[in-house]
């Protein structure tokens, strides 16, 4: 049964709507905006519709919508505003924020039922279509990649090599181009173009199909004459593509031509076949050339042993394999670690991610769109996180910058006596009571300034727990101060412990990386966490 969340501060209103809908739907209820956000956060994948009242204490309907929009929930989850509000300002604002429909008081059962039903079916159809489209697109994309890979493999097969060369060159090309796109907009690169170049990079050596076996697989040094024949593969490959009687004008064929012909040109004009120099060599060919050289150096060949990553890098930078575009050398340096990981087979750039991204871009130009699959993944990670948290204890938190939403673990909320979900934590009274206004601001600024390449930081805090008077012994008032603060002022009865707050800033996956928030955990300073160096955190869950 589909679930509907009813958010209204009046119990009677909720009851009335619930009675009108409970026959067809499972009903969840929230009495105010904060409760709504916390229910949504935990059930975002299984709620089909939100009925939202406008005027509520604490956090009104508009504020709830704002958080939902910033969290990217409104893409998949429709909201119907319920209101007796006549003022068109409010109605406009609500539509602006992405409300799908309005239901006015007085409630008319038939209208309420029909409107809910229509909105839910509209959204579920849209969701299904988006999924279908992405899957089909991926299928077709997969087929075309498969064909190219088979063809490239046939060429390489004659080369008595493993078939990894083509895949490596593609991967390195993609890594270098992504760096280049970040570094400069000089080459007019975008994700589509990079995908095309990467795909067709597989065909860079297609001309080798015409090189005789004994030259192709000669273990020793080639004679001048043999080398000349070997070198002809780039011209031959491009000629083969130019001679196609059909598809000649397809972007893919044009790109394959570019790469096949010019991937042995060099920046200083000393390459072949045309002796092009500088940016007269198309950037696609320049990049594949560098990727090709890096892979040739780091792989074993019939005529040589494999060099290490570091040696290969040094040889390229010193110009031992010809001159390359200095910008590409920059990219190589920046992406060196990523290249090394791919070389060692530890990771491959995720093609499926790009396809999905593309499909979603097409459907929604909304960067925060999360498909069902992603949301389920997230849900799973959250469940995992909660489970481990339950076993290991500790207080962890997660802050999302865009929606200004702070979520703390159940344990932390209970221990510190704060709510699990806090919107706009900087102005939250409970947190100000514990940390002080200044400290909160300082922490926020500090998190924001953490760089993507060094996103982890830690603080030491005194946590002073004073037993609340006239209450059960398990109840404490907490205050947190810097360890460096001299003369910590606390009553003799108070316990105070030094804790470490270990935090990691999070960034967008897409380049350029932007700060999206921070995750962290509060652990006793003496615990083993304290001595871990370079703590590595899982991006999604914050599990240590």
């Amino acid at each position: 049964m589909e679930k509907i969340l009813i958010v209204d501060d009046s119990e009677m209103n909720r009851e009335m709507l619930s009675e009108m809908l409970e026959h067809d739907y499972e009903i969840l209820e929230a009495a105010d905006g904060k409760e709504a956000i916390s229910i949504l956060k935990d059930n975002i994948t299984c709620i089909s519709l939100v009925l939202l009242d406008m005027i509520m204490p604490e956090m009104n309907g508009i504020e709830v919508l704002d958080v939902m929009k910033k969290s990217g929930w409104l893409v998949d989850l429709p909201v119907i505003m319920i209101s007796a509000e006549e003022s068109s300002d409010v109605v406009h604002k609500a539509y602006e924020l992405g409300v799908t429909e309005f239901i006015r008081r007085p409630f008319d059962q038939l209208i309420v039922q029909k409107r809910c039903q229509n909105v839910i079916s509209l959204y579920s159809k849209q969701k299904k279509l988006a999924g279908l489209f992405a899957d089909q697109f991926y299928e077709r994309e997969k087929d075309s990649r498969l064909m190219i890979d088979i063809l490239a493999h046939i060429v390489e097969f004659r080369n008595n090599e493993s078939g990894m060369h083509v895949i490596h060159v593609q991967n390195y090309t993609e890594i270098l181009l992504k760096q280049l796109m970040q570094l400069t907009d000089k080459y007019d690169l975008d994700n589509d173009k990079i995908s095309l170049i990467t795909k067709t990079a597989a065909l860079h050596d297609v001309g080798k199909i015409c090189i005789p076996d004994e030259i192709l697989n000669k273990p020793g040094r080639l004679t001048d004459e043999e080398f000349k024949i070997m070198k002809s593969h780039s011209a031959i490959g491009s000629q083969m593509l130019a001679d196609l009687s059909f598809h000649k004008d397809e972007p893919l064929v044009k790109m394959a031509y570019t790469i096949a012909r010019w991937h042995h040109e060099r920046w200083d004009g000393r390459g072949y076949p045309d002796g092009l120099a500088g940016d007269d060599i198309p950037i696609a060919a320049q990049t594949v050339a560098l990727a090709d050289v890096y892979d040739a150096l780091t792989s074993e060949r019939c005529y040589k042993k494999a060099f290490s990553h570091a040696t290969a890098l040094e040889m390229i930078i010193k110009g031992e394999c010809g001159q390359f575009n200095p910008l590409l050398i920059d990219c190589l340096n920046t992406a060196a670690e990523e290249m090394r990981l791919v070389k060692e087979g530890g990771s491959t750039p995720n093609a499926e991610y790009d396809v999905r991204e593309f499909a979603l871009d097409l459907l929604k130009s909304n960067a925060l769109y999360s498909s069902d699959r992603l949301l389920h993944l997230l849900e799973y990670e959250k469940m995992k996180n909660r489970f481990f948290e339950g076993i290991t204890g500790g207080c962890s938190f997660e802050y999302t910058a865009k929606s200004q939403m702070l979520t703390v673990s159940a344990n932390a909320a209970k221990t510190l006596g704060i709510e699990e979900t806090i919107i706009d934590p900087i102005h939250n009274e409970q947190l100000i009571g514990i940390f002080g206004k200044e400290k909160l601001r300082e922490l926020k600024a500090k998190f924001r300034s953490l760089p993507p390449d060094n996103p982890i930081t830690q603080y030491n805090f005194h946590i002073i727990a004073t037993e609340k008077a006239n209450e059960e012994s398990s109840s404490y008032i907490f205050r947190i101060t810097d360890v460096s603060e001299s003369g910590v002022n606390c009553p003799a009865s108070a316990r105070h412990t030094v804790y470490k707050l270990i935090c990691r800033a999070a960034f967008t996956i897409a380049e350029p990386q932007r700060y999206t928030g921070v995750i962290g955990k509060l652990v006793p300073s003496e615990s083993e966490y304290g001595i871990m160096k370079g703590v590595d955190l899982n991006d999604l869950t914050g599990v240590l």
Binding site: M12, I55, R105
Partner: protein, 119 residues
Amino acid sequence: MTLRECYDSIGADFDGAVKRMCGKESMLAKFAKKFPADPTYQGLVSAFESGDIPSAFRMAHTLKGLCLNLGLDKLQKSSSELTEALRNTESPTPNAAELYEIVKRDYEATINAINSADV
């Protein structure tokens, strides 16, 4: 007194309310009976008397909504007027106190009638 008679006596729209509930008199009866126990009115009284205008505005607004749903037209009209008088919570209109008294009067009449209806 039947619920219909009760509605007629306080200027409420019985037929309209029942129609909106797909003709189910029992549903209207159920919610009308709950109305006297609903905390919204008490909330309005304590907010208004303590000068907490933002809360008083919200409560008057909620009360108006409940009356709309239950077809309590007369109380809906007075609570609606009070809502508008309080909408600018910084400076309510001068007649707010007067309108508040009317809401009190209509509310008393309404719950007296509902409590005496046999449902």
